[in-house]
């Protein structure tokens, strides 16, 4: 058989299949659909990159499910088995973990780009709204996925989630029961979250992605916005048709290559993180009697963690139950609030400022969530050492004061020269800020977010503690002085002596 005949035969097969499956038709309406030439831009790759991450999650998730047992008794063991014993189990877990991080990150870039490029405006309202639901589903996947890694973080994270749900007025208890499958975190809880994470949420994502892509195909991809090009309901459809007619190019192959390059960068990025940083955890066992932990959510929820820790008491119910529906509602109806007009971010200062403000707030809160200075360091009292200059040259009483400072766990909240907890002020120079009497009052009565320790300290312990703290002032700096008492000659001579010392040091 010569070449020509072979091609003819293959063509015949193709036509036979095409006549029945309408592959050409499908291609022309999907990958081959025309897009504005301006949209074949590097800014437009983030949607497909998010989808790629989702596909990686599906694949790695299926493989993980072969080993993972979603029961409270066995989940942790199977996680350890996957991480330390199963051949390449760690690689699978790490890919799933970093895939989720990349998915949330790239999705946020996609949402921001769509917002800044005005792509949510007429006639793409449903595209945007389905995107908002997809974003919530993705965050839901991230949260339920964190529960799948059933370690101490997951356990306490669930506890906090249940506590938030329990605040719902009237039906709090019922909501908690529904969420946890009972009043406490148990096997039923893990089954529920497994079902959500593996069936309900990914299934919903697939359905919503279908709608989202269908909208992209039918309403067309947003053209690259130009300043001054105003969207009007009456004229937009015609204008878009003209753009497609004049400078439309088929998505395949003219648009898709950038998506493919982006895809390989994303895969490379995920692989890099997998090989360099590996999987996360599992941390300690999810043991409710083990309270010596500092549970912390994954990075995409650190900002919520920070808000929850920092907001004043009276705002808690509002921030936890009222604010989220308002924010989500606003996002959802955004296309109706701002349906037409300018698309280009160059002419939408409020949009740009909102993005900057939101990212600054999220970034700052994430940073605070990561460092969480409000959490006491529960091991500092017995583990935080004291730098030499804060021990040397002290009298026996002052040394006993430092021992009391350690034993009474002051270090858990107060660092000395940065070592220790950061909930309260650093004590390295407390002697320059508070006088002896002020220190006694503060320790005995507490105040300013510090508990009163009067009942936990004997008078001698207080004496020693205060004597030590009074000694905490940098060389050359005077100790704090009661301003109502005029300086006596003795402190003046000390002052002179210390000044000489300071000058000498220079």
């Amino acid at each position: 058989m010569n070449g020509k005949a072979l091609i003819q035969a293959l063509n015949g097969v193709y036509e036979w299949v095409d006549k029945r499956l309408h592959v050409t038709d499908l291609f022309n309406h999907t990958a081959g659909h025309p897009i504005p030439k301006s949209s074949a831009s590097w800014f437009y790759v983030f949607g497909s990159a998010t989808l790629l991450c989702f596909m990686i999650q599906l694949l790695t998730g299926c493989l993980l499910a072969l080993v993972y047992v979603p029961s409270a008794a066995e989940a942790y063991t199977t996680l350890e088995y996957l991480t330390f014993r199963q051949e390449l189990g760690w690689f699978l877990r790490a890919t799933h973990y970093w895939g989720s991080n990349f998915m949330v990150g790239i999705m946020l870039i996609h949402v921001t780009q769509v917002f800044l490029f005005g792509a949510y405006k007429y006639p793409r309202e449903i595209t945007w709204m389905s995107g908002v639901v997809l974003m919530l589903l993705t965050l839901g996947l991230a949260f339920t996925g964190q529960v799948m890694r059933f370690d101490e973080d997951a356990y306490w994270g669930l506890g906090i989630g249940a506590a938030i749900a329990g605040r719902s007025p009237m039906i709090g208890q019922q909501v908690v029961n529904f969420m946890l499958g009972g009043p406490i975190i148990a096997s039923e809880t893990l089954s529920r979250f497994f079902t959500l994470h593996v069936f309900v949420l990914p299934g919903s994502v697939l359905a919503l992605v279908a709608l989202h892509l269908r909208m992209v195909l039918t309403k067309g991809i947003n053209e690259y916005p130009k300043p001054g090009q105003i969207v009007r309901k009456e004229t937009y459809d015609k204008e878009y048709a003209t753009i497609i007619k004049k400078e439309g190019i088929p998505f395949f192959p003219h648009g898709i290559w950038k998506d493919l390059v982006a895809a390989s960068i994303v895969i490379g990025g995920i692989l890099f993180c997998v090989l360099m940083f590996g999987p996360k955890g599992p941390l300690g066992e999810p043991n409710p009697t083990q309270i010596d932990t500092v549970p912390r959510p994954d990075f995409f929820f650190l900002w919520i963690f920070a808000i929850a820790a920092l907001m004043p008491d009276y705002m808690e119910t509002f921030m936890l139950l009222v604010a989220p529906p308002i924010i989500i509602g606003l996002l959802f109806i955004l296309p109706f609030i701002n349906n037409t007009g300018e698309k280009s971010w160059r002419r939408r200062p409020i949009a740009v400022l909102s993005v900057i403000l939101i990212y600054l707030a999220l970034g700052l809160l994430t940073y605070l969530g990561q460092t969480s200075p409000w959490s006491p360091d529960m091991k500092a009292w017995s583990g935080a050492e004291t730098p030499r200059e804060f021990v040397e040259g002290r009298s026996p009483l002052e040394l006993q004061g430092l021992a009391v400072l350690q034993n009474k766990q002051c270090r858990n909240c107060h660092a000395i020269d940065g070592i220790g907890g950061h909930r309260g002020p650093d004590l390295a120079d407390v002697g320059t800020r508070l006088t002896k009497d002020q220190l006694v009052r503060q320790i005995i009565q507490g105040g300013g977010n510090m508990p009163a320790y009067g009942k936990n300290l004997s008078p001698y312990e207080t004496d020693a503690l205060v004597a030590y703290m009074v000694s905490l002032h940098p060389k050359g700096e005077l100790p704090a002085r009661d301003s109502t008492i005029p300086a006596t000659p003795a402190p003046l001579s000390v002052q002179e002596g210390e000044q000489h010392e300071a000058v000498g040091a220079h």
């Binding site: 390989s264 026996p396 008078p459």
Partner: protein
């Protein structure tokens, strides 16, 4: 595209090969339950270093790597101290059975490893670790001979040298045994000499130490400034 595919293939090859990959979890990354931690360094740095220092840093109370201290304190006694604490000195009890956080096995690991720091056998003239209180009047003379040069003739401390050792608050926070241990071992890390080097060529005897501790203890007062009778050991 080719470059991307090639780098992908390389990365996968690295992942599949057995070579050392930073991301691959190692056995020691496994988070043991707190009661299963058996690494001495971890246990010491989490439980002891805050007060006793770690050898490089100094703490408010005696350093655990002080060879003299280790040579006079029987190992079993240290195990008891760590297990039950010393309420009179503020040393907390670390055993789980006493409300602490360490198992008996962990306490054993800590004590064994601390004693691995002990370099020398006790000096032949080393005073006994504990002994009954001696004579107050003799103690005053011993203090004047051995301690007054830094702590002052009356024990109230000398400016730029050393602080008071007769301050009632200080004496109220430390036991007679604590005073004895410090008198024997000193605080070499903070410049306070041990029993053998206070007066060159004349080491303090066990009796002299008992006497000086009795003299120090005689300065104890209650919170209202009333003198307390020295407690008998």
């Amino acid at each position: 595209m080719k470059i991307a595919a090639l780098s992908l293939a390389c990365l996968s090859a690295i992942a599949l090969s057995g070579c050392d990959i930073p991301g691959r979890p190692k056995k020691e990354d496994r988070r043991p339950e707190p009661h299963h931690v058996t690494d001495f360094k971890t246990l010491y740095s989490q439980n002891c270093a805050g007060c006793h220092g770690n050898g490089q840093s100094v703490g408010p109370v005696i350093a655990m790597n002080d060879p003299l201290y280790l040579s006079i304190l029987p190992k079993e006694q240290m195990r008891q101290i760590v297990t039950n604490g010393r309420a009179e000195n503020g040393m907390p009890a670390f055993a789980l059975s006493n409300g602490g956080s360490l198992t008996n096995e962990q306490i054993g690991i800590i004590v064994d490893n601390i004693y691995a720091w002990a370099k020398n056998p006790p000096p032949t003239n080393a005073p006994a670790y504990s002994a009954p209180l001696g004579d107050v009047a003799r103690g005053a003379a011993v203090f004047a001979a051995n301690c007054a040069s830094c702590h002052g003739a009356d024990g109230q401390g000398l400016k730029d040298k050393a602080g008071s050792v007769v301050n009632p608050a200080y004496l109220g926070l430390v036991s007679d045994q604590y005073l004895r241990t410090i008198t024997i071992a000193g605080r070499n890390d903070l410049g306070c000499p041990d029993f053998a080097s206070r007066v060159p060529g004349k080491a303090m005897t066990s009796e002299e130490i008992s006497d000086v501790v009795a003299w120090l203890a005689s300065h104890r007062e209650n919170e209202f400034g009333q003198k307390l009778a020295p407690a008998q050991q």
